[in-house]
Subunit: 457 residues, 4 copies
């Protein structure tokens, strides 16, 4: 039989704690799941360092990818049942789009690597480009499976993920304000962190979702369910994805990789028998897709374990801080207090720390992190509600709650530094006076101009 | 202040998806959580290869250890509130035992390593002995924290875990048929796998739990809640812990490590720059506690990634099967059909497989796996129900359901072999006739004497 | 369009706490829900007096009836999708049976009245006969809707509920060991009582359910899910449906109605302006279907409120005990101690109580209660598991747990009496010595032969 | 022992689906639960007619009252543990306030009657005044129990509910923006309706709640949990409490009682043997507390059942509409379209309906309904967040989401009318032209000025 339409002898299900069951009936989908590139996702955590704050959140991108597939599958089922296209161009659902939709849903994150955003920051990789490469390169098992559908199928699936596929409905199922990706990660991250904020009524949202000529809209009757999803997402960002301690661990990770790279640039050969073989292509700026696909969380952590015993004191210290969870402390600052950072950095330097590796600033809206990157890489489609006469109205014009968080820059700017600067009872410590001066700049988790500050300068 | 009694300025909580919050008020407990040995548990999965079947079950021993602590804490709270000892020896709860109980609960699994049971099988390590060592060796951070309580405190905590502590109540909170360890792992594994079978009414069980002179008993009013716990545990073993595919992945892992060890014994030096440095002490039968504490799931997987490219075909093949989830197939056999295994092995050998590495038998009651070892390493205490007059009666004498599964050997014996032996449409395959003969021995997932079997011999 | 096939312009859903949403697409089903006979079910509680023990269980038969419909609907969907009949008699699912199945599911309980089993006990009504009457009598709105489908449709639906419909699959969806009725009430009663015991994996059970020539079977792969359902049901009976206090309230209700009837027989006319108009046809043994359909929980409770002020001391006292939740106490007895009941009754009589109205015995297996009646009114079909070759095997032969509770008489025999007999500190009470003697017969919730008993005789 | 401090021999628990268990340790509390006035709450539904839209919401005020007690109990436990008063006036928690707090929590709704707000609207009763009366009148069992604590205790408990008790912490636990009452009803109504919107993190909110000199504040760390509670409440009001169909049923109930009263005023004596004896004192404007306490949902429904057969066509029709769930239809109007209502009413009158009984307007912010009354009867306390230095800041100044819904009038104005006015296919109907004209005024659920409207006048 035509591979494209080949069904399994019996529908196969995966037990999933979020969706209960994930149902697969196409042979193509099962074959994709069985590829080594997809199985690799088991070894890449969905939320990176977030588990250092929410210890339950140890789930990988494997389950998330299955979940996105499952939501896309349910959307296709609903669309085919309720809105089947009768004639081309009628703005309804053409079920010939199902397989490309399901494959794109399943594979949308396949290019993600270990600690994805931080790694990209240091090594200038690009998980979206790599996703496309995995789909279209003849070296991968994924490509081999997709090609069996048709020669152009790999590129078609890639184009959905890259938002260039001609059918906007297919693209928006995978990438929009309210897409299968976001719906799954909110529910899944909420489930694994234990933070209920991410819950929303998936069944209801799927029920009011509908295709139309410009993509996907939502019945106006379902306005409150959609609003609740937006609020849940907002709350997850505020409380989970942008958690200050999680960002502090991210900073340490970033600086650890930076230090390793700086050091490798200066002294590539080690004498002690240890070489970070799998990272070397990246240190050397000369890596292939095969090199990339060998990396996962465990590989990086293994190198961190070695570095923790390094004779490079900074490398060793940062590796230990990362592995043993010793986050930096941080303080919020504003444009009024930003100038004080220079003073603080000077004190930290005086206390013996290299500020390149031991301080950082970041704000939670351009964090090198999965949360915000999600915001930027998606089409900026607004959510359209459809009235009974078929006209649409944008969500925030109806919902005061959504309006309240639309177009606002949320989050904060924080300055990160070693927790030792806050050591209180450092009586016998050489640097005790510096610590005390330092602490004068912090009040109620805020950077402040201390009283008598001028004397400090 | 006395470190033993030192409380945090404010109770600290960890968000936990199973228990909602885990509350820490002792400085000692927080310091133990912050040790590197305890943080290492984040990198060791609770259920090993089970995630290959239940993909949601990616949780580590870190969260489980916190969960056991939390349940123990609630038990202490209840006991102190409802059954405080008035005079020594009155069989009630002496709250001076609280800290040793909490520490033992928190640390009971700290000696577990990566893929614990399989690793022990190949390298003859012993996670229980290592747990004691971590507590009592002056080289660990855990020991340093415990010693601050008192010089003998490390050994006291160890003795609880080893069941030699004099107070049977403390021992049974940590280790008995219905202890904090089992209660947490059932709930937690059920939550992460998505298999509801493990749920039981924790609040109710804790409420009817009570100390008495011989340890822990349960109010007879709570019989049904206790019965439900026993049934839940039984169901989790049958459906999750002993899942045939999970055991098949365990077999591959076991044989992969065995092959690596065999090969290292023959040819320790590699030419390609890669050395499994962190495993070498174990290959050499000369390892220290420090060596052991460097191992985690990611380290082993990193070596597997290297071995997947090895020029040793068996090593490479097994590593790929493990990493990319290619489980062996298996068939159930009985004492009547056990003699057929010789024939099957011969056919597998003929088809080109080394049966040492490509076949295995195991039964689900002595599986080298966390499930069963749990059954054997615990004190075999029965569950006692207490009547209103203080007399006790053993659970299975009241519950026909518990009686039905008491003292029975449950589970099955299975023979594992490469899935290729079941290839159906191997028309052009050289070994096609062998496969067909092989398959004649299998019917309905059972090993059978095929019709015309004598001719096969 | 043909009414039988008429679909709603858009599928309508009912928010349901157990099934999330209940989906209706047929006009017939919506019209049935809108009938006055069906709406009446809102005023009849599902579990009668159970709410006196589990206060959350205040749900009515309305939600349960919708829930049974919803489960039946999902079964039909699965069957139509996975097992569509190709040729008549092939043992697969003929979707022409869908509407009769859904209607029978929705209406199976429509003949239930207020406090159904107790009411039947006193007034000799029969809710199953009344169900059939409501379907087939030209006086009802339900009949009018059903007749619009076809003249014989009302009788067809009734025959499904009466187990005489020719297609065994349809009958067993509604009535069998594992039918839509039982599945819904277990989940629903568990949800509303808060007793988790009733939970089981509905999705999984529905997934392994399949039609075959003799009715409904279950894939052998799903054995554990089916087993878990059986255990859940067993636990709900033991812990919820047969709760001794619930049975004690049932006894009071029974005796209250009995007293009212006895009194009406002797003195039908009241002088005070109050007449239980809606009950009078039942007192007079001359009632119609219309009379029956006017009764609901609120009507009976309203009469109880009046009787609570009656000048008949027994009637007034029993009404107050019922309305204000003053259950009788009870004690378990066995065949060895049954003879003591005569002595106890004598003491209760001496203490001033009419034993006809103030004592009772019942056992939890022939309790005049919804639990057991369910066991008896269903076809005694065993649960068949289907192997891959299509042969079947009965569940209890595979499951030791199910075998443990198969064919056993579970439950207990209890003797009920006024709680005043247990008054401890009745120093100034005339009957104090009697109470003390009475209490000598009770130890640990059991009836016993007291020491020195012979002297009491 | 002093009754005030008398504990039960063993803590008693009630299984509750929302809070799992409700724990009672004081004899006073158990005695209050056992009073006939408290047991009556089992017969008064929490949400009145809401169950006509959310069929699962059949729960009574009994469970809610226990739930409020339970939350108050947990608050007291937390306060006593974390913030015990050391010296009078230190703004911390004085545990001598516990019993009065618990009693007020348990009894705060005891004056509620059947269909409380509608009944009050017609008969000018006042459930808050009646609550006070039940506590302080020597005729009630509740008063008898409270008096055993001390002669002034009944009045003290009443003063908490009336917000005049001197300790603001006690008052605000019972009545404030974030009190035990609201927390329970949100969670409980969400549970029973199945609308998840009402969920929030109770454990977290209770954990950050703290006493201070002016009452109750919340740690600023818990801002997001408090915000989430406010959003949940907002969503429940929008989607459950103000549901248009629920309001439509409320309108029918209101008009049904109004018609009965009007009719009784004109013709008090009936010839057919039926008299609404328990309502007559209210028709006669001469009722006592004892009369009030006899009313419950079942009593009113019983009278509605009789009225459904009345020879008064309006009374009969409205009773049938109410019992058999035939809600009015409604349309939203604004100040621009309000003048059209006169036209619509005229058309409805022409079609044969008495507009006094067959039309209504209401807006969802002054609805005669439990939702809004809750808003108005509470102290308008803002929610104060406490910083680490003890200063406080009001919630909406920190949360853009809360600010978005603060001080806004939400909800809509609707005009209610018989659904028959929307009959489409009334070909043979005498009034068909009127219906068609009527429908011209409605577009997209909004009242509009139709094109060509002037011709219609």
């Amino acid at each position: 039989m035509d591979y494209r339409h080949q069904l399994l002898p019996r529908e196969k299900v995966f037990r999933d704690p979020v969706h209960n069951y994930i149902a697969v009936s196409y042979q193509v989908i099962l074959d994709l799941i069985d590829t080594k590139e997809f199985q690799r996702l088991r070894r890449v955590k969905q939320l990176g360092v977030t588990e250092e704050v929410f210890h339950g959140a140890e789930h990988s991108r494997f389950g998330h990818s299955l979940g996105v597939y499952e939501i896309a599958r349910r959307i296709c089922d609903n669309f085919e049942h309720d809105y089947p296209s009768q004639t081309p161009g009628d703005g309804l659902w053409d079920d010939h789009e199902r397989l490309v939709t399901l494959c794109a849903a399943l594979l949308h994150d396949i290019g993600h690597g270990a600690y994805s955003h931080t790694f990209e920051h240091i090594f200038h990789t690009d998980h979206e480009a790599i996703t496309a490469q995995i789909l279209t390169s003849p070296t991968t098992e994924v490509n081999a499976v997709l090609k069996r559908v048709s020669p152009e199928f790999p590129q078609q699936v890639a184009s959905v993920i890259q938002h260039t596929y001609p059918n906007p409905q297919v693209v928006q199922i995978i990438s929009s304000q309210l897409d299968a990706d976001r719906m799954d990660y909110l529910l899944r991250d909420a489930y694994y962190t234990g933070a209920d904020y991410g819950r929303f009524d998936l069944t209801r949202v799927l029920r009011v979702m509908r295709p139309y000529k410009d993509g996907i809209a939502f019945d106006i009757d379902g306005m409150h369910a959609v609003e609740d999803y937006i609020l849940s997402r907002f709350q997850m960002y505020q409380q989970v994805y942008f958690h200050p301690v999680s960002r502090a661990m991210e900073v340490i990770l970033d600086h650890l990789l930076l230090r390793a790279k700086d050091r490798y640039d200066n002294q590539p050969v080690r004498e002690d028998g240890f070489r970070p073989l799998l990272l070397e292509p990246f240190f050397n700026h000369d890596w292939t897709l095969a090199d990339y696909l060998k990396l996962d969380d465990g590989v990086l952590n293994t190198y961190f374990l070695h570095w923790a015993d390094s004779d490079d004191a900074v490398l060793s210290d940062l590796a230990n801080r990362f592995l043993n969870r010793r986050p930096f402390k941080s303080v919020e600052y504003t444009s009024e207090t930003e100038d004080l950072l220079t003073i603080l950095r000077a004190k930290i330097e005086t206390a013996g720390y290299n500020v390149k590796y031991y301080t950082a600033t970041n704000d939670s809206y351009d964090l090198p992190y999965n949360a915000n990157s999600r915001q930027t890489r998606k089409p900026a489609a607004e959510i359209q509600l459809m009235k009974s006469d078929g006209s649409t109205i944008e969500l925030s014009s109806l919902s005061p709650l959504v309006a309240a968080i639309t177009g606002r820059e949320l989050g904060d700017q924080r300055f990160f530094f070693p927790r030792e600067m806050l050591t209180k009872d450092a009586e016998n410590d050489l640097f005790s006076p510096i610590y005390i001066e330092f602490q004068n700049y912090i009040h109620n988790d805020q950077l402040i101009h201390p009283q008598g500050e001028s004397h400090d300068n």
